[in-house]
């Protein structure tokens, strides 16, 4: 399994979901690394790999967005015919844009 290409496909799938974007680290990527791919962890195990994708929410509510993401991510796995046992989408943060404020402030 080409992990890097798989991670890129997953990141691209998440980026296409309205209301989600990959939790890409800030700053310039050193030495040409694929920075976006760091939003994905692929853990290989005896029964198949586990995949963790970290994303930021830019819209609410989450449940319909997550359902859409599930379909897109499972399609990536199916297209590559990879032995993935478990896939987890982690919504790690929420952008102020989700509340209609670019720089959210409670006051």
């Amino acid at each position: 399994m080409n992990t890097t290409e798989f991670a890129r496909d997953l990141v691209a799938a998440v980026a296409k979901i309205p209301g989600l974007r990959p939790a890409t680290q800030a700053g310039p990527s050193p030495l040409g690394w694929q920075w976006d791919a760091l939003a994905v962890d692929v853990i290989r195990g005896a029964g198949g790999g586990d995949v963790v994708i970290r994303a930021v929410a830019t819209r609410l509510p989450l449940p319909p967005i997550v359902r859409q993401a599930e379909q897109a991510l499972l399609a990536v796995v199916a297209a590559r015919r990879l032995p993935i046992a478990r896939m987890r989408l982690e919504i790690t943060e929420i952008d102020g844009a989700a509340f209609g404020t670019g720089k959210g402030s409670p006051e």
Partner: protein, 133 residues
């Protein structure tokens, strides 16, 4: 984090899909709901919340993110799909504190449930100050 699970296995090949929502997300939803409650002047962190805020800021380095504020709200996952939320607020003296508190509990519980799909077991409200206009 909360965990929601969707078993997408088909003929045993499709992976098990699950999603989790971080406490930061829940807290941001809670804060946004709280400040909109009539009688709530602002949400602000107590001493415990200040420490948590520093940790979150240090950890938060995601490209292009304008993180929604979470200061003043604390989240605990009591089960995989259930949270307890606490909010620290400053309220106006023009309104009855208990009425504001009850309204805030309803607003936060409803907002978190709708936004995340989580069950809200409890919303605790701490009134840090009352400002008389």
């Amino acid at each position: 984090m909360d965990r929601g699970t969707s078993d997408a296995r088909d003929t045993g090949r499709a992976p098990l899909f699950e999603y989790v929502v971080s406490s930061s997300v829940v807290a941001a939803v809670a804060v946004h709901a709280a400040v909109a409650v009539p009688g709530v002047l602002r949400v602000e962190p107590g001493l415990t919340g200040l420490v948590g805020s520093v940790v979150r800021t240090a950890r938060q380095r995601i490209k292009g993110l304008e993180p929604a504020p979470t200061e003043g709200a604390r989240v605990e996952f009591v089960r995989a799909d259930t949270v307890r939320v606490e909010v620290d607020v400053v309220i106006s003296g023009q309104d009855q504190a208990t009425a504001v508190g009850h309204a805030l509990q309803r607003a936060v519980a409803g907002a978190v449930s709708e936004a995340t799909g989580l069950t809200v077991a409890e919303v605790g409200v701490s009134v840090l100050d009352i400002i008389w206009d």
